[in-house]
């Protein structure tokens, strides 16, 4: 299969610094694949995601998205760590935010919103203001907003790191369910190796200064996976050695 994302020899450094954050990165993501990127703080995981999301400019190298431009979809969509709902829009209007400018009829728009609301189990809360939502609901809303534009590549920047442990497990399982339903590829940034191994088809490790791809590990465990299964724990432990 051809990759839908091909990152080739990518480097990034901040304007005022000579030392790059990461350098010579190569990464491919196949259609529908779930790839987790792990690494300690400061290795540039989030920066890498921002480069792919076109929210930051890399210093050298290239990012190629092999996703056709369609007028009713966006090629990629981002889920932020802080959820980042617009506080002045009700939930349903937040979810509709990315749809403006797409070639959709009114009914199609409404259908999209209803679809992702139900997919993320938020239908009952459509008219709430963001401050009336819990941390987990905010994250689900962020996912719903991203899914509404029907992306082929979902970019997730530590989306569950700010919620409590129990909510995190729920959200992880919901994400897997949604991922299987939509078939979108996922690039998932996290510092939690167990989370990466539990969710992903492949785990890549960023480490060093400047950071490079220290490991590209396939997770060949059958789904659904058990969080406490021995093979999962062993794999997580092995990956942790690379950090």
């Amino acid at each position: 299969m051809a990759p839908i994302l091909n990152i080739d020899n990518l480097s990034f450094h901040y304007g005022n610094s000579a030392e790059p954050v990461f350098a010579g990165l190569n990464l491919r993501i196949e259609k529908g694949e779930f790839v987790a990127v792990v690494g300690g703080s400061g290795v540039g995981k989030s920066t890498l995601l921002k480069c792919v999301a076109d929210l930051a400019d890399s210093s050298a190298g290239s990012i190629f998205l092999d996703i056709p431009e369609r007028r009713s979809c966006r090629r990629r969509a981002t889920v932020f760590q802080d959820g980042r709902l617009l506080p002045w829009k009700r939930l349903k209007h937040n979810i509709a935010y990315g749809l403006k400018g797409l070639d959709l009829k009114r009914e199609e728009r409404e259908a999209r919103i209803a679809e992702v609301l139900s997919l993320t189990r938020l239908s009952e809360l459509a008219d709430r203001w963001p401050h009336q939502l819990s941390g987990g609901q905010v994250q689900r809303a962020g996912i719903a907003r991203a899914l509404a534009v029907h992306p082929e590549l979902l970019l997730m920047d530590e989306p569950f790191s700010a919620v409590d442990a129990i909510t995190r497990q729920h959200l992880q399982d919901e994400l897997l369910r949604i991922w299987e339903k939509t078939g979108a590829a996922v690039m998932f940034i996290t510092h939690d190796i167990e989370e990466a191994v539990y969710l992903a088809d492949r785990v890549v490790v960023l480490s060093g200064t400047p950071a490079h791809l220290a490991l590209d590990q396939e997770v060949a465990l059958p789904r659904p996976r058990g969080r406490n299964a021995e093979d999962l724990q062993q794999l997580a432990h092995a990956i942790a050695q690379e950090l």
Binding site: L55, R74, F80, R84, W88, K89, R90, K100, G101
Partner: protein, 262 residues
């Protein structure tokens, strides 16, 4: 267990607060009356509080009160409206464009410290003694309040919201202005508008002292003949109209900002 004394609890209850508030008012008027009858204050310089209702009726029946209020309201509405609109507009434009910001920065620094009343000279030169002159002076004071509030509110919109707009392909200027900049800066802009409502009253009376018909002029005329009761009546009416407009605006503000946690 509640160990607070009963009286202190009562003072915080709505009824307690109302009774105490009224008592404070009565005490103030009593002290005022005392100062007047005992000759503690020089005779003729302090109005008799008990004459105020009669004075209000006189001002009303001689047909001075209502035209003065209406005339002042004309100055107020025009001055406030123009000052608010221009302050908001120029504040928003200069905060959004580096070009406009640099272009106006020195000018603003020079003009901003000039008190609105210093412009009275030019108000007379350009508009003579007219409604437009009074409105002009009021507008200047209101302009700076709104300009500054809008400028800093727009400047302080969190960059993460612009990043979100970019991530979801919503970068059009108008789109961003309406969906991000304006709502994000609305709390600051509205706070400035509310300050302007008060500021406008303060300059209003001073602007009218130059002779434009209105409450300021009536106050000046009454003071000239020692009719201090009438002066107090106008002061109280100013207080009333300000309270009404501020309350009305607070309601609008609350409705516009209903998305904020209360």
């Amino acid at each position: 267990m509640n160990r607070e004394p009963k009286l202190s609890l009562w003072a915080r209850s709505p009824l307690g607060r109302a009774v105490l508030g009224f008592t404070g008012l009565v005490l103030f008027v009593a002290g005022w009356k005392l100062a007047q009858v005992t000759g503690w204050a020089q005779a003729g310089t302090i109005p008799d509080p008990f004459l105020l209702p009669q004075t209000l009726e006189d001002e009303w029946s001689t047909g001075r009160l209502l035209p003065a209020i209406l005339s002042s309201l004309v100055h107020y509405v025009w001055g406030l409206g123009l000052g608010t609109f221009l302050g908001f507009l120029i504040g928003a434009v200069t905060a959004s464009s580096h070009w406009a910001d640099a272009l106006h920065a020195w000018l603003a620094r020079i003009l901003r410290p000039i008190p609105p009343l210093a412009w009275v000279v030019f108000a007379i030169a350009w508009f003579k003694v007219s409604h437009a002159g009074a409105a002009f002076v009021i507008a200047i004071g209101v302009f700076w309040v709104n300009y500054f509030a809008t400028w800093s509110a727009v400047r302080n919109v969190e960059p993460k919201y612009y990043e979100l707009a970019r991530a979801f392909g919503q970068q059009g200027h108008l789109n961003q202005a309406l969906n991000v900049t304006l709502p994000a800066s609305a709390p600051g802009i509205l706070a400035g508008m509310r300050t302007g409502i008060g500021q406008a009253w303060m300059t209003l009376i001073a602007a009218e002292l130059l002779g434009v018909p209105g409450m300021g002029q009536e106050m000046n005329a009454a003071a000239g003949v020692g009719a201090y009761e009438a002066v107090v009546i106008y002061m109280l009416i100013i207080s009333l109209v300000y309270t009404l407009s501020d309350t009305l605006f607070a309601r609008i503000e609350k409705r516009v900002l209903q998305w904020r946690p209360s």
